[in-house]
Each structure stands twice: as C-alpha cells, then as structure tokens.
C-alpha cells in the first residue's frame, strides 16, 4: 500500500506544532534547542514528501534535506556550546533569567 502524501504532511504538521510548542513553552535552553531540531525535521519531512510525490527525478530536494540536517547539526553544536557558557556564567539554563537586553 502506498502511503498518501497527505499522511506525510499531517505527520509533518504535527511535528511542526510540537516544535513550536516546545520552543514557546519550554523554559530550559536545552529543551528550546530540541524544539528547534524538531521544527527542522518537520520541514525536512515535508520536503522529502513533496519530492517523492511531485518530482521524483529531481535531486534538488535531497540536497535541500542534507543541507537542513547539516544546519541542524551545526546549530545543535553551537547552541549547546552557548548554553554551556551561559550555564558556567549564570549557574542556570532557564532562559527567563537571560533578560539583560530589556533593561
């Protein structure tokens, strides 16, 4: 049986919603980074789904997906490094504590 495109898109939308919720609702910086990762994967799933069902002979979508994975990995590395530095400085990873720009 062939899984229809709509199913992929629904899974992608659910993943995206979960990511948005995680980014908005979570207080820990690490969790926010995880949310961003989920967002990226939702987009990647959508792109692969659209490629598979609309232009299977074109490789551009695959390259796009690889780019997204790469960006996700780099983002994770830099983000975690930032969080670690912040933790060392403040002894906390709660993003609400980082509000200096407001003042």
């Amino acid at each position: 049986m062939i899984v229809p495109l709509t199913a992929y898109l629904i899974v992608g939308a659910i993943l995206f919603a979960i990511g948005v919720y995680t980014v908005i609702a979570q207080r820990a910086a690490v969790m926010i980074l995880m949310g961003i990762e989920v967002l990226l994967n939702a987009i990647g799933l959508n792109i692969i789904a659209f490629w598979r069902f609309t232009a299977p002979t074109d490789y551009s979508a695959q390259i796009f997906a690889i780019l997204i994975i790469t960006i996700g990995a780099i983002e994770m590395a830099i983000g975690l490094a930032l969080v670690m530095l912040l933790y060392r400085q403040r002894q906390t990873v709660e993003v609400d504590a980082y509000a200096e720009l407001k003042r």
Binding site: V20, V23, I24, A25, I32, V95, D96, Y98, A99, E100, L101, K102, R103
Partner: protein, 638 residues
C-alpha cells in the same frame, strides 16, 4: 687656508676681546691688538703664495656674488705693510694710552681699523672689498672722534666720514657696474675679462672713473682733501696709522689692485695723474706754511699720496707701491715722534716749540731719520722710492720729472722747517717729560723700517710684484733731485717756524678748505633743488588727491541713495522674515511639538513589547509568520 682666514680675523677678534675684558688687563686691551698684529704678520709669512679662499655668497639671475680672500703678490705686499705698521703703532699705543681714559674702546676701534684694512687688502671679491672699505671708514670715524669731548672732534670725524663717503658712492657704483659687466664680483674675473678684451671701452672707462672717485675720497686727493688735516684731532697713533697704512693707503691700493681697469681707460689714467699732480703741489705748498706740527704732516701725507697718484697716472704702479711702503714707514714714524712731542711738551704749535733735541734726544733722532727719509736723502727709504717715481716721470716727459723734483724740494722745505722749529733753536717748553718705553720701542721699530726699507726693496720689488720694472734713472736727474732735496731742507730749516713762502700757503689753504667743501655744499644744493621738485610733486599729488576726493564725494552721494533703496528693500525682507518666523513659531513649532509628544507616547507603548521573555519573541515570530502566510494565501486566492 685657516691661516689666510686668521690674518684679518685676528685683529677683529682682538678688538672684541679688548672691548670685553680690556678693562681688567694691564695694558687696557692693547696687548690683544699688538699680539693679533704680530700673529697676522707671522701668518702672512706662513701662507703659501697663491692661497685662495673663495665661496659663492649667493646667485641671483645671472649675477654671482662671491666672498673670498686671495693671496697674490700685491695683496701679500700691502697686507704685510699694514700688519707691520700696525704692529709698530700698536706697541707705541701701549705707552701712549697708558693712564688715559677709555683704553678698551680705543684698542677695540684700533683692532677694527686694522682688521678691516686687512680684509680690504686681501679680499678677492669686490663686495667684500667694498664692505671692508666702509668698515675702514667707520673705524676711522670712531677713532678721529675718539676724544669726543674735545671741541671740534665730532665735527672732524663727521667731516672725514662724509667726505670719504662721497667718494664711496663712486666705488659702489663702480663695482655694481663691474658686476653688471662680468656677472660676478670676483676681481680676477674682471681683470681676466679685461685681458681678453671682452668688455666695451666706454663702460670700462666709466668704471675706472667711478673707482677713481672712491680712491680720491679715501686717499684725500683733490677735491676731497679737506678731511685729512682736520682728522689730526684724533689720538696720534690713530693719525700715524691713518696716514700711513690703513686709511689713505686704501685709495692707492684700490688703483693698484684694479690697475688693469685703469690701463684700459687712458682717460682715467690721465685723470689720476692730473688729480695727483694738483693735490701734491697744492698740499705741499700748504704744508710749508702750516703752524701745527701734526697738520704739517697731514698736508705732507696728501702731497705724498699725490706723488703716488702721479706715478700711477704715468704708468708706474711699481714706483707707486714702492713709495706707498716707504711713505707708510717714514710717515708713521714722523707721526709717532710728533705724538711724543705733543704728549711731553703739551703743544704742537711750531711757534711754541724749539730745541727739543736736548730734552727728547731719542724722539728727535727718530724724527730726523724719518724726516730725512721723507726729504729723499740717500740711503734712507724716501730716496729710493722717489727715485723710482722720478724714473717713471722721466720716462714719460720732461715736465713730469720737473714736477717731481719740485715736489721733492717742497717736501724738503716743509719737513726741514718742521724739524728745525721743533727740535732746534731756542728751547721753548721747559718742563718736558720722558716717553714711556713702549713708545720708544714702537718708534724704533718703524724708524728702522723707514731707514732700511729703501735699499731692502730697491731692485727687489720688481720680482715681488707683478708690475714691470722702471728703467734706470739718468744720473743728471738723480743729482738734480738730491740737490733739490738738500736745498729744500736747508731752506726749510732756515725759515724755521716762519712760513716758508709768506702768506701764500695760508691763502691757498683757506681757498682749498673752502673749495673742498664744495662737494658738500653742492650736495646740499642738489638736495635743496630736490626739495623744490619734491614740493612740485607734492602739489601735483595734492591736486590728484583733491580731484579724487571730489569724485569720491559724488560717488558717495550716489552711494547713499543706493543705500537708502537697499535699506528699504532690506527692511521689507526683514519684516517678511519676521512674519514667517512668527508663523513658524505659532504653527509649525506647535504642530511639531504635538507630533513629538505623540511619537514619545507610541514609543512608550511599543516599549512594553520588549518584555525580555524569549518565548514571547518566538511566539510573535510565529504569529507574524502565520499572519503573513494567511495574508499571502488570501491575496493569492483572491
């Protein structure tokens, strides 16, 4: 090269030293001057022939002004003469000035005098020569007026300064002309250009006459003689120096130095002869009637310088330089002896002196040696040099030779008269002191030179100086001159203090002194004439000024009307500006204020958006993105 520079620099430095520390020295600074003169003399012996020190001062257009010293046979000869006489006179001054006031000033001025003369003699550039020429004039002015409190001294100094200055203008114009012709101030370049016939004869003749004017002023030739006898008011060592080596010799030296210029201009050479002849004759006659010992010697100097000019004019530079040296030696000796007489006897009036040979035997002998040398009795120096002049004259013409013999007779007369009136006959002043030893030493030195210089230089001078030698003199002329000299001496000695030729010399002197003032008076007349011209120019200028003031008046009124119109326009514009300003203040400013307040309020409200909560920012981002998507979709769909 350093030695060459040191020769003129030493006396100048000595002058400075005398001025600075002379007060604390035992001889009042005189030791500096004497030492410098001695060192300069030694330096002159050390410097090799042909030494040359030259540099370009500056270049302007095609003109190159140089500075430099040159060591040629002629400059060496005259510089040695200057330094030797300066040494003798300097030693004498040590004794002369002992116990007198203002010694440092005297020796400083003396050092300046000697140094300036050495620069003048050694200079290889007309600029430096002229500058030194003026310095010599300045130093002589200072020294003649040394006893400025004495009545007549400032006047005599000013007279000497101004009269020589008239000649100096000629020299100034002369060297400027040389600069124009050759493009450089180097004397050698000028002489070289003359040798190659590169210069047109007319400007060269003009240049020779201009230079001659300078020489006449400095050497006290007619018509600029008047300052020389008046200069007698200065201290005696100054007179000795001035009359022998430093001041008056400069004129003769100038003609010698620039002899090729004069040779190229026969007219100028003839003028040299005639001026010299007139001066020698007139001054010689006046000297026979003068009643003041120093003034006799002064007139004699003018006469002897005239003889040198005669020799130069007749084409005998060698004889002239010979006589320059011999005259410097015996005339400085005579002056030094006269100075002793004045110091010890308290007067120099011939009618109040007499028989001093017993009171002042040394001075008397020295005076007699120098006097006999002046008269031209062998074997003393005057005989040899006057013989050389006579040989030059005899080669040219019979009349000129006769003139020289007459001059020798006159010289014998006036010096015989002065000697007999001063040293022989009834002893006049009773209380006569003794001269100090430096005075005796100075006199002895110069008397030795006066006695020996003749046979030392005779026949040898031709190999020292680059001038052609004179032919031998016929023995008839020689005997004639000797007889004239002896006759003159005897005649003068017999006349003693009385005038040798009655009232003639006095009349001649009065006439001459009046006549020699004509250049001054003429200058004054010219200046008066210039006054008239100036007044006329003034009137023209006044007329122009008045006319322009009328024009200015009319333009002024026109201007005023323009002004009024402009003021009206300006007023209108100003009022307009004021009104618009008020409108702005009322409208725009108030509106702007309200706007600003509103913006501030909006800013305050917007400020609350910046909560600092990360999730709010993220939410806003997603909401905005969603809204944008919805809007985009709606626009696409519609």
């Amino acid at each position: 090269m350093i030695v060459l520079l040191a020769i003129p620099a030493l006396p100048l430095l000595a002058a400075l030293a005398a001025l600075r520390v002379g007060r604390r020295m035992p001889w009042g600074g005189g030791e500096f001057v004497v030492g410098a003169a001695a060192l300069s003399l030694i330096g002159l012996m050390l410097v090799p022939d042909g030494a040359n020190l030259s540099a370009t001062w500056f270049e302007s257009g095609g003109f190159r002004l140089t500075v430099g010293l040159e060591f040629s046979p002629l400059t060496w000869f005259v510089a040695t003469l200057v330094a030797s006489i300066a040494l003798g006179v300097g030693i004498y001054s040590l004794g002369y000035m002992a116990g007198k006031a203002d010694r440092p000033r005297f020796f400083a001025e003396l050092g300046l005098f000697i140094g300036a003369m050495l620069v003048l003699v050694l200079s290889s550039s007309l600029v430096i020569l002229f500058a030194a020429w003026e310095l010599v004039g300045l130093a002589s002015y200072l020294l003649i007026g040394f006893n400025y409190a004495e009545p007549g001294a400032p006047q005599a100094a000013a007279k000497a300064f101004l009269m020589t200055r008239i000649g100096d203008v000629g020299l100034l114009l002369g060297w400027l002309l040389a600069l124009t012709l050759t493009g450089t101030t180097e004397i050698d370049a000028l002489i070289g250009a003359l040798g190659q016939q590169q210069l047109a004869p007319a400007p060269v003749a003009l240049m020779a006459f201009l230079m001659l004017a300078g020489a006449i002023g400095k050497s006290a030739q007619l018509p600029l003689t008047g300052w020389l006898p008046d200069a007698m008011i200065g201290p005696t060592p100054v007179s000795a120096l001035l009359h022998s080596a430093t001041m008056v010799a400069a004129g003769v030296f100038l003609v010698l130095r620039l002899y090729p210029v004069f040779e190229a201009a026969p007219g100028a050479l003839a003028a040299v002869f005639w001026i010299g002849a007139a001066t020698a004759l007139v001054a010689g006659v006046i000297a026979t009637g003068e009643m003041d010992l120093k003034r006799v010697l002064a007139w004699s100097t003018a006469s002897q310088l005239g003889e040198m000019m005669i020799a130069l004019g007749l084409g005998g530079p060698l004889a002239a330089s010979f006589h320059l040296a011999a005259h410097a030696a015996f005339k400085s000796t005579l002056f030094l002896a006269a100075g002793v007489v004045q110091e010890e006897a308290g007067t120099r009036g011939l009618d109040r002196l007499g028989g001093l040979i017993r009171a002042l035997p040394f001075t008397g002998v020295v005076f007699l040696i120098a006097g006999v040398a002046l008269a031209g009795i062998p074997p003393l120096s005057g005989f040899w040099s006057e013989e050389a002049i006579l040989a030059t004259a005899a080669r040219q013409s019979f009349g000129a030779a006769l003139l020289i013999v007459a001059l020798i007779f006159l010289a014998g007369t006036y010096i015989g008269r002065a000697a007999s009136a001063t040293f022989f006959g009834e002893r006049r002043p009773d209380d006569v002191g003794k001269p100090a030893w430096p005075m005796k030493a100075g006199m002895a030195l110069l008397a030795l030179a006066a006695a020996s210089l003749g046979w030392l230089l005779s026949g040898r001078l031709g190999s020292i100086l680059p001038f052609s030698a004179e032919p031998d003199l016929a023995s008839a002329w020689r005997a004639f001159a000797l007889v004239a000299a002896i006759l003159g001496l005897a005649f003068g000695a017999r006349r003693s203090s009385a005038s040798a030729f009655g009232v003639l010399p006095a009349k001649l002197r009065a006439g001459l002194m009046a006549a020699t003032e004509w250049p001054t008076i003429a200058t004054m007349r010219i200046s008066q004439l210039l006054n008239v011209v100036e007044a006329a120019l003034d009137r023209v200028a006044q007329g122009i000024a008045k006319g322009s003031s009328v024009i200015a008046g009319t333009t002024h009124s026109a201007e005023r009307q323009f002004d009024a119109v402009a003021e009206l326009a300006a007023g209108g514009v100003w009022r307009l500006a004021q009104n618009s300003e008020r409108a702005e203040a009322l409208g725009f400013a108030r509106g702007g204020d309200a706007l600003a307040i509103d913006i501030v309020g909006i800013g305050e409200r917007l400020r609350t958006l910046q909560s600092g909560r990360l999730y709010l920012y993220t939410l806003a981002l997603f909401v905005w993105a969603a809204a944008a998507l919805v809007a985009g979709g709606l626009m696409l769909w519609l």
